[in-house]
Structure formats: structure tokens, C-alpha cells
């Protein structure tokens, strides 16, 4: 009964083709000689060369990296501490907060985007802070990245064997030393995969950036969007292919990382 028949196998392969068709299409078109139209006229790598001479694309790439790196750094720090705290200590309102933390995972990104835009607008009126631009984008990205890091780290903390920490305490280590020398190295893989997740999410985001950016701070997705609205140029396909490659590498890293750790974890406990 638990066997894959030919029908199930065929349908499943078609489904895989369906979800990969768009990605493959963009990559294929990035090597297409034709500048306009849907036809294939020959193989070329000139759009990649054109991309690296495109000042706007390079500037946007720089902005995207600044945004992804800085938001990941802040979100990983705060998210790790949050995950540790949530798994170890009790405080009033903890259940409510744990629930609140799941909102960014499921809320449509347009809701997060406009609520932040509105919030920045109100604060700007009253305090003159949060001029739209790179800084507001970073704050926005940190906000949706923190929960992801915290949830991964919390899961890792819950999976830890408490007797290891108890042993450290029995040997005279104080709370801080136990955390830094015993707990932190053990949860480090979780912290790193949380950071990779946060970084990937920052690269993937378009809607939140689009609504919370200001003049001069264009990211790659925003650049792609405006090109799509004007009509796609082939070098945008080249750019998109490179971004797809980056996401795939990051995702595979997270997966390999997670699986290795799971195997090691099951050996320890």
C-alpha cells in the first residue's frame, strides 16, 4: 500500500516542474541573445557583463548587502537573547508575547509594510526621527527577522540536555559563565542557522522595503520591480539569476546545517 505508483510519480514530477518552471525560465532567459520578445535566438553571457557595468545595479547591490548584513547582525543578537530567555525563564505575559512573536511569520507583508510606514510617519511628525531611507529599512527588516531567529534558538535550547548546564553550575560556574562557556557553544549551530534564515529573508523581501524606503536607498528587489514595471531588460534576468543562486546556496546551507546538527544531537542524547 505504501508505494509510489506510476500515476503518483508522474503527478509529483509535474508538480516539481511547475514550481521550478519560473526559476528555470529566468536563468535560461538571462543567457538569451534576444533583447526583446519571447523567442530564443542564441546563447550569450553579455547580459552578465552589462550588469557589472550597470552603476544603478551595483549601487542597489551594495544597499542590499548593507541592509541584509546590518539587519541580520542586530536581529541575531536580539533574537538569540530572546530565544534563550523565552526557553529558560518565566515572566508575566510570556504566553501572550510568544503568540505575538508568530505574527510576522504569517501576516501578509503588505500589512507589516504599511503599519511601519504609518508608524514612521507619526514618529517623524512628533519627534523628527525616522526619515525614510536605509535606517528605516534596517529597522523594518530587524523586526521581521527577530522572531525567526528567536524561534530557531528557542527550539535548540529546549532540545538541550539540562544536566550539562547543571553540571557546570555544580562545578561552580556562575550564570554568566555557564551561559558563555557551556550553553552558547551548544546553541551556536541554532544561532547560525537563525542568522542564515534572517539574511535570506532580508534578501527576499520586496514589499516591506518598497514601502519603508526613501529617496536614494534602492535595493535590488526594488530595482527589479521598477524594471519589471517599465519592461524587463535582459540584464535584469542576469541579476535575478544571481539572486536566485544566492538564495539557493543559502537555503541548502541551512538545510545541511540543520540535518547534520540533528544527527549529532540524536547521538548525544
Amino acid at each position: 500500500m505504501k508505494k509510489n505508483g506510476p500515476i503518483l510519480t508522474t503527478i509529483s514530477f509535474l508538480t516539481y516542474i511547475f514550481i521550478y518552471a519560473p526559476i528555470v525560465m529566468v536563468v535560461v532567459y538571462s543567457f538569451n541573445l534576444a533583447k526583446y520578445g519571447a523567442g530564443w535566438t542564441g546563447f550569450t553571457t553579455k547580459w552578465y557583463a552589462a550588469l557589472f557595468r550597470n552603476e544603478m545595479a551595483l549601487e542597489a547591490a551594495k544597499n542590499t548587502l548593507i541592509l541584509a548584513c546590518s539587519s541580520t547582525l542586530v536581529a541575531t543578537t536580539l533574537g538569540t537573547l530572546l530565544g534563550v530567555g523565552l526557553s529558560r525563564y518565566n515572566f508575566p505575559g510570556k504566553r501572550l508575547f510568544s503568540w505575538l512573536m508568530y505574527i510576522p511569520l504569517v501576516i501578509p507583508d503588505i500589512l507589516m509594510a504599511v503599519s511601519l510606514l504609518l508608524f514612521y510617519g507619526l514618529i517623524r511628525q512628533w519627534l523628527g526621527l525616522f526619515e525614510l531611507g536605509m535606517s528605516t529599512m534596517i529597522v523594518s527588516h530587524v523586526t521581521f527577522e527577530i522572531p525567526f531567529v528567536a524561534i530557531v534558538v528557542r527550539a535548540r535550547m529546549i532540545g538541550l540536555n539540562p544536566s550539562i548546564e547543571e553540571a557546570a553550575a555544580d562545578l561552580g560556574a556562575n550564570t554568566w559563565k555557564t551561559f558563555w562557556y557551556v550553553t552558547f557553544p551548544l546553541i551556536l549551530p541554532g544561532v547560525l542557522s537563525g542568522a542564515l534564515l534572517a539574511f535570506t529573508m532580508s534578501l527576499d523581501d520586496f514589499v516591506v522595503s518598497f514601502f519603508t524606503t526613501g529617496p536614494g536607498a534602492t535595493t535590488l528587489p526594488i530595482l527589479i520591480y521598477s524594471s519589471v514595471k517599465r519592461g524587463i531588460t535582459p540584464d535584469i534576468n542576469a541579476l535575478s539569476s544571481l539572486m536566485i543562486l544566492a538564495s539557493i546556496v543559502l537555503t541548502v546551507l541551512v538545510q545541511i546545517f540543520g540535518r547534520k546538527e540533528q544527527e549529532r544531537g540524536s547521538k548525544i542524547t
Partner: protein, 298 residues
């Protein structure tokens, strides 16, 4: 001081040292903005697109069709359409995810991980890129657009893009992992002895599936439907790039008010409505998850 009070106090101090900054950040930049949306939705738009501090229900009245000149169905239509598109997406995702989830679950253990990773990878690539790729795929004269005309899914004289069909294609392509993952988890837990017993008792394939398998995967199915429905309802990019005026959804209506129309109070009213639906969905999901002891999806 009793030992318990000391423990409580210690917990509170260590909590604020560890979780404190994260909690403050999330409350300040997630909770407060969401509350501001709620508050602003009851205010008035000023002449120059600013916000006037006059309390009103007008934004909601307008949203539900009570315009200045009588009934105006513009926004009620958008509400209904969004629900239909989101529900349709969820239904199509069920149809596509069921065979795939069973297929992955029946694979030999060492291929399962790879097959699952293959489902997840597109999900982590940029949605904007995957969406405009459908523009290429469905461009006039492309193989796929000729195919849909040939089969007759789309009539000859109607372009394949922009269309509701294109929006569905983009949506299902994007949200499929949300359905496959919980379904797969449920399928892995199936007690096949029940299905075998049903077979032995003479049930045919369909009846065995209906009465012995389906009830066992119901929690995954419900979780998947909710997880697809919620983000689909507020999708912005896909209807924007693949649809036209006839596929404007709640997300696009919100974006419009916060962008070109610059009517933040009205945009907030739509956003607050959408948020209410999201919260209801989340609450339902939490109930299903708790009842069946499922892990939250990540």
C-alpha cells in the same frame, strides 16, 4: 522571603536581561504600529493627504459600500474577490499538494530529505523574481500561452496575461510549500494498519481513502489550508504583476491608499479589516495545532 519569591525575582531579572531588548523591539516596531493602524483608521484624511484628528466611522462605511452617493460596490467586490481568490488558491494547493506529500512520504528514507528540500528551495528565492518569471512564461506567443489557448483553459481571444488564471498560477506556485509541509507531517503519522483493516473489510480504494486515511490527515489539511489562505488573502506582488484591474485584492487596495491615493486613514481601515481576518485565522490555526499536538510550522 520564600524560595519561590526569590526564584520569581531571579527569573524576572534574567528575563529582562535576555528577552528584554527583543521584547521591547518587537512591541515597539510590531505591536505599536499595528495599534496605530487601528487608531488611524478612525481618523479623517486632510486636504493634502495628511491626517486630521477628527473621529469618524466614514472609512469603514466607505469600505463596506456606503459611499457619499449611495451604495458603491467597489470595495465590497474587492473583499469578496479576495476571499474567492484566496480560497481558490487554497483549494488548488490541496489538489497539488496531496499527491506530492504522499509521494514524498512513500519515498525511501534517504530521498525524503532531498525531496522536501526541493519543495522548500523555491520558497526561499525572491517572490518578486518568481512572479515576473510568470510574465515571461505566459507572454504572448510563448509555449505555455499557446498551450493554455490550445487546451481551452483560456479562450483564444483573451490574453493569458494579465488574467485571474495567471494570478492563480503565481499564487499556487508560491504557497504550495505551506500546504505540502503540514500535510507531509500528518501523512508520516498515519497508522496504516487502519487502512489495511479497511481494505480487508472489503473497502475499495476511494472508500478506504475517504474513511480510513482522510480523517487521519485532517489536522495537516486544515493547518495547510489556513497557512495558505492567510497570506494569499493579503498578497500584493502577485495580483499586481500578473493580474489587472479585475484581480485587485485587499493587499493592492491597501497599497494603493498608502501609495498613490495617499489616504492613510482609509488604507488603515482596509488594513485593520485584513488584520482581523488574519488574527482569526491564526487563532484557528493555534486551536488545530494545540488539539493535535502539531509543531508550529517553520
Amino acid at each position: 522571603m520564600s524560595a519561590e519569591t526569590i526564584k520569581k525575582r531571579r527569573d524576572l531579572i534574567l528575563s529582562s536581561l535576555t528577552s528584554g531588548p527583543g521584547i521591547v523591539w518587537v512591541c515597539l516596531f510590531l505591536l505599536v504600529p499595528l495599534i496605530s493602524v487601528m487608531a488611524i483608521s478612525f481618523l479623517t484624511r486632510g486636504e493634502y493627504g495628511d491626517i486630521e484628528w477628527t473621529f469618524t466611522f466614514d472609512n469603514y462605511k466607505r469600505f463596506f459600500g456606503y459611499g457619499i452617493f449611495g451604495f458603491d460596490p467597489l470595495y465590497p467586490i474587492i473583499i469578496v474577490r479576495s476571499f474567492i481568490l484566496a480560497a481558490g488558491t487554497a483549494a488548488l494547493c490541496v489538489l497539488a499538494a496531496l499527491p506530492l506529500a504522499f509521494f514524498i512520504s512513500f519515498l525511501p528514507p534517504r530521498y525524503k530529505g532531498i525531496a522536501l528540500t526541493l519543495v522548500i528551495i523555491p520558497f526561499w528565492t525572491n517572490l518578486l523574481i518568481r512572479t515576473y518569471a510568470w510574465q515571461i512564461l505566459l507572454a504572448p506567443g510563448s509555449i505555455l500561452s499557446n498551450l493554455v489557448h490550445f487546451i481551452g483553459i483560456v479562450p483564444e481571444d483573451v490574453p493569458a496575461l494579465p488574467s485571474a488564471g495567471a494570478v492563480y498560477a503565481g499564487m499556487v506556485c508560491d504557497f504550495l510549500p505551506y500546504m505540502v509541509l503540514p500535510l507531509y507531517t500528518s501523512i508520516e503519522k498515519i497508522d496504516w494498519k487502519i487502512a489495511e483493516a479497511a481494505m480487508d473489510l472489503g473497502g475499495n480504494g476511494r472508500r478506504v481513502f475517504r474513511h480510513a486515511v482522510l480523517p487521519q490527515i485532517m489536522p495537516g489539511l486544515v493547518a495547510g489550508i489556513i497557512l495558505v489562505f492567510i497570506p494569499a488573502l493579503g498578497q500584493y506582488v502577485i495580483p499586481d504583476l500578473l493580474g489587472g484591474a479585475k484581480t485587485v485584492m485587499l493587499g493592492n487596495a491597501i497599497g494603493q491608499q498608502f501609495g498613490a491615493s495617499r489616504d492613510w486613514p482609509f488604507g488603515s481601515a482596509i488594513a485593520f479589516f485584513a488584520m482581523g481576518i488574519v488574527m482569526m485565522g491564526l487563532w484557528l490555526y493555534a486551536r488545530v495545532a494545540r488539539k493535535h499536538g502539531e509543531e508550529a510550522l517553520l
